[in-house]
């Protein structure tokens, strides 16, 4: 009986919600079902219409350049400022939006169909840890390829490799402004000073968020001085073809620009790094990844996501120990997480995010995600547009962040719409134990049994308290 509940925990807390038959497949060894998902290399999202970020960004930069030229031309011709929107100025969003839709659809299709849902939840966890947000220019077109290129390949690999891939990805360089950052004593700055051109210098945004959000965590022992110094270390990390100042380099790819790099040795967290150009930043990132504060921060976030909102300190320590002992080998970190006793305790108390709710509904009802982009609607309506947390901290991960009255009402309304659409083609009573297993309450079973219609039965199943949580 205890193991039956373990299968529900594995499918919901670690997975993305049970598909019909999944609980039976998990069977009596839920931990082994999870471990097995970590053995093969992570899958590649394979749709042919998913483009590399470099290609997307190069095209977007070219489009913007054309638009700027047109605007300039219009300004000199005197037709600017007449309040009429120039359709040509919409070309960039028109280019980026379908890319976003294609990426979200591919991601959703995979989440709904995958037989390794634990791995996909981990991918989403890391994508949110290293969050970018589509409200910034170009990011709508890059968020998907960023996840495919910088996150997915490293989900079972080393944290250091993922960190390096993320921070050198054009999407992150653009999102946190580092591509513009210039060392105050760099060749470029000195040239400008001689010409008495407006001052250029560092932007500390990426450096701060790497320390605060990506590695050490906010209490991780760094100072403002470390932020500034680290920002100088990563001056010159940039993107090819972006902006008039930085037009050189292969468009759309990460590039190191020695002429923007702040020369000299720098001290970060008490360690001295001799100037080695690009490698100076790599050295700092490697050391940050190996800090105990980083292990603790990552372990806390994993435990919050997979165990409970306020995870027991002993559990966090065990996961952090695995991180440290393995040198950030992520598959070993997850193995430690699976072994934490508290991860297997009832009840399933964590309130699902809107995305969890939609994905688990699709999985549970066996809804194929069509490529016509309609599946994006519920994520938007329920308040979690993919890759749009709006801030580099990513989506919040505590129940109280998601359990608002209006949010609940929208879930219920959406469940009602799903019931109306699929109710006559699904048997809610037969599905209930498939989705909820040992967690199915008598109240829910009764409610579904006595529903006035098949659509209403399905609505009640999706609205059930057990289905709101993981």
């Amino acid at each position: 009986m205890r193991e039956t509940f373990a299968s529900v925990i594995a499918a919901n807390r670690f997975g993305l919600g049970a598909r019909p038959g999944e609980l039976a497949l998990i069977g009596s060894d839920a931990r082994e079902w999870l471990r097995a998902q970590l053995r093969a290399p992570p899958p590649v999202l394979g749709a042919a219409d998913l483009l590399p970020s470099a290609q997307i960004l190069a095209q977007a930069l070219e489009l913007r350049r054309e638009m700027q030229a047109q605007r300039k031309q219009a300004a000199t011709a005197g037709s600017a400022g007449n309040g009429v929107e120039d359709p040509a100025q919409k070309r960039l969003p028109q280019f980026l939006r379908p890319i976003y839709a294609t990426e979200v659809t591919a991601r959703l299709q995979h989440a709904v169909a995958t037989e390794r849902p634990f791995l996909e939840r981990l991918t989403q966890f890391w994508s949110n840890h290293f969050a970018v947000s589509i409200d910034k220019q170009f990011l709508a077109g890059l968020a998907g390829s960023f996840e495919r290129e910088a996150i997915r390949p490293h989900v079972l690999g080393s944290f250091t490799d993922m960190l390096l891939a993320v921070e050198t990805h054009p999407a992150m360089q653009l999102y946190l402004d580092n591509y513009l950052s210039v060392g105050p004593n760099s060749q470029a700055a000195q040239r400008r000073a001689r010409r008495q051109a407006p001052r250029i210098g560092i932007n500390e945004n990426l450096a701060r968020e790497i320390l605060e959000l990506h590695t050490l965590g906010v209490g991780g022992g760094y100072t403002q001085k470390d932020v500034t110094s680290f920002a100088e270390v990563i001056t010159g990390w940039s993107v090819g073809g972006e902006g008039d100042r930085f037009a050189d380099g292969e468009p759309g790819r990460f590039v190191f620009r020695p002429e923007l790099h702040e020369p000299g040795a720098k001290v970060v967290l008490g360690r001295r790094y001799p100037d080695a150009g690009f490698d100076q930043g790599v050295a700092v990132l490697r050391d940050l990844a190996a800090e105990r504060a980083t292990a603790h921060f990552i372990a806390t976030k994993l435990a919050r996501h997979f165990i409970q909102d306020e995870p027991p300190p002993a559990a966090v320590t065990r996961v952090a120990d695995a991180f440290t002992a393995s040198g950030g080998h992520l598959a070993k970190v997850y193995a430690a997480l699976i072994d934490v006793q508290e991860a297997w305790l009832q009840p399933l108390a964590k309130y699902k995010t809107p995305a969890d709710y939609v994905v688990s509904s699709f999985r549970g009802l066996g809804v194929p995600v069509e490529a016509d982009h309609a599946p994006l609607a519920p994520l938007e309506q329920l308040g979690q547009r993919t890759w749009s947390p709006g801030a580099p901290a990513g989506w919040p991960d505590r129940s109280a962040d998601w359990d608002g009255a209006s949010g609940l009402m929208k879930r219920i309304q959406w469940a009602d719409a799903v019931g109306a659409r699929l109710g006559n083609r699904r048997d809610a009573l037969q599905l209930a134990p498939q989705l909820l297993g040992a967690n199915l309450s008598e109240a829910t079973r009764q409610s579904v049994t006595h529903a006035a219609s098949a659509p209403q039965a399905l609505t009640l199943l999706l609205a059930a308290p057990e289905f709101m949580r993981r």
């Binding site: 560092i202 500390e204 945004n205 308040g383 609940l408 109240a443 409610s447």
Partner: protein, 410 residues
């Protein structure tokens, strides 16, 4: 230094009769129960020196360089405030409020948080304690719990799907956001209500949502209710970014039986690069906000005279422009308090100056006013929150932050 020290209007002029005045106002408002309060959280750290430039400070032009605003009257100039401070030219409605004595500008103010993380800064801004993550509830909710019992079951409403930390806690509150999804039939709703009977959280949330929906639907009986009105004429100033949310807020607040407190978020203030000056990125955002506040004023109608609207952000930004024509995370910043209930037409600032010696850690505007002083004064006078509750429950460990009195009209 002394030359740049501004007269501190807040404490100086009002200290004498302040305490007495506060008590009287609090009682008057509490008796009628008509006071409305709107809290607007500006997430991302608003650049207070851009929104309220200290035009009279001799270090200001050098720090802000090409983004320094000119004096009022000049092309691209600031709007006039008190002669020393100006107002960003995008904030035309706020300037009208100032002229009508319905706006107090609070400069060089900060929460007790002195680091530079947005997320911890917002946590302190909302939890009301001096430390991030020290409390899981928000000061506004705890204040509502301590205030005289409101007419509505829900004392407050968050405009959005979820309730921000500042509004979470023991007092019943709800959240509301517009939905394109269709309304459920009564039978299904009744069955779901039954299904949640033994689940206290979901039962409460569902009841709150139904109450909010009923109010939103019922508001249709009033003129200019929560239903979005016709789109503004082409060429109208700003855009409608906040129109829907402020109309909804006003719809709730206007009702006799509705919540008297509303909170909503605004975003886009994290201007690390290409911030702009009189025009540009930040100017657009400020213009949208200003247009939203003008709409709020209009939609509140006669309730405006009983309203106070407070705009706050987690911290300020660096005094100097950074290397990428933006500003990085800083310390002190500005807050705005407006509304018909506000004793406005004033800038409250104990101006520390912008010389390199005066700057906090050599880079940020120093804080000379504790945000909690403003909040304590406001909550006691406007919402009749008892003083002992403010000290003990609403703002723990805040003894150094004495209530700022006289923010409201008597």
């Amino acid at each position: 230094m002394a030359m740049q020290r501004r007269e501190f209007l807040g404490f100086g002029a009002l200290a004498a009769g302040g305490a007495l005045l506060g008590t009287r106002v609090a009682l008057a408002h509490a008796d009628r129960g008509t006071s409305r309060f709107v809290l607007v959280i500006m997430r991302g750290a608003l650049d207070g020196l851009a929104a309220v430039p200290p035009l009279g400070d001799r270090d200001y032009p050098e720090l802000r360089r090409e983004f320094a605003l000119h004096a009022p009257g000049q092309s691209g100039g600031a709007l006039p405030l008190d002669g020393f401070f100006g107002l960003h030219p995008a904030l035309t409605f706020l300037q009208q409020c100032y002229a009508a004595r319905e706006l107090i500008v609070l400069q060089a103010l900060a929460s007790p948080y002195r680091e530079r993380s947005h997320f911890d800064g917002q946590d302190v801004l909302e939890n009301g304690s001096p430390r991030p993550h020290a409390l899981q509830t928000g000061w506004l909710n705890r204040a509502l719990a301590a205030a005289p019992r409101p007419a509505a079951r829900e004392a407050g409403v968050a405009l959005g799907q979820n309730v921000p930390l500042v509004m979470r806690g023991p007092a019943a509150v709800t959240s509301w956001s517009s939905s394109k999804l269709t309304v459920l039939d009564d039978d299904t709703l009744a069955r779901i209500t039954d299904l949640y009977a033994s689940d206290p959280l979901l039962a409460t949330r569902l009841a709150d949502a139904l109450a909010a929906n009923a109010m939103a639907a019922g508001a249709g009986a009033e003129p200019g209710a929560m239903k979005p009105q016709a789109a503004p004429a082409p060429g109208a100033r700003g855009n409608a970014r906040y129109a829907e949310v402020v109309r909804a807020a006003a719809g709730f607040l206007r009702r006799e039986d509705g919540p008297k407190v509303a909170v909503f978020d605004t975003n886009g203030w994290d201007t690390h690069a290409n911030e702009g000056g009189a025009q540009g990125q930040l100017a657009s955002r400020l213009g949208e906000l200003d247009a939203g506040l003008a709409t709020l004023h209009q939609e509140l109608g006669t309730a405006w005279k009983d309203s106070a609207v407070l705009l706050v952000t987690e911290f300020g930004r660096t005094a100097a422009i950074n290397g990428t024509r933006g500003t990085d995370h800083g310390t002190a910043t500005v807050a705005f308090l407006l509304g018909g209930a506000v004793a406005g037409g004033r800038v409250i600032a104990d101006w520390p100056g912008l010389s390199s010696r005066a700057l906090y850690q050599g880079r940020d505007l120093a804080a000379t006013l504790d945000l909690r002083s403003v909040l304590k004064g406001l909550l006691s006078e406007h919402l009749a929150v008892p003083a002992h509750a403010l000290e003990q429950d609403v703002f723990p460990d805040s003894r150094t932050a004495r209530p700022l009195r006289g923010l409201l009209r008597s």
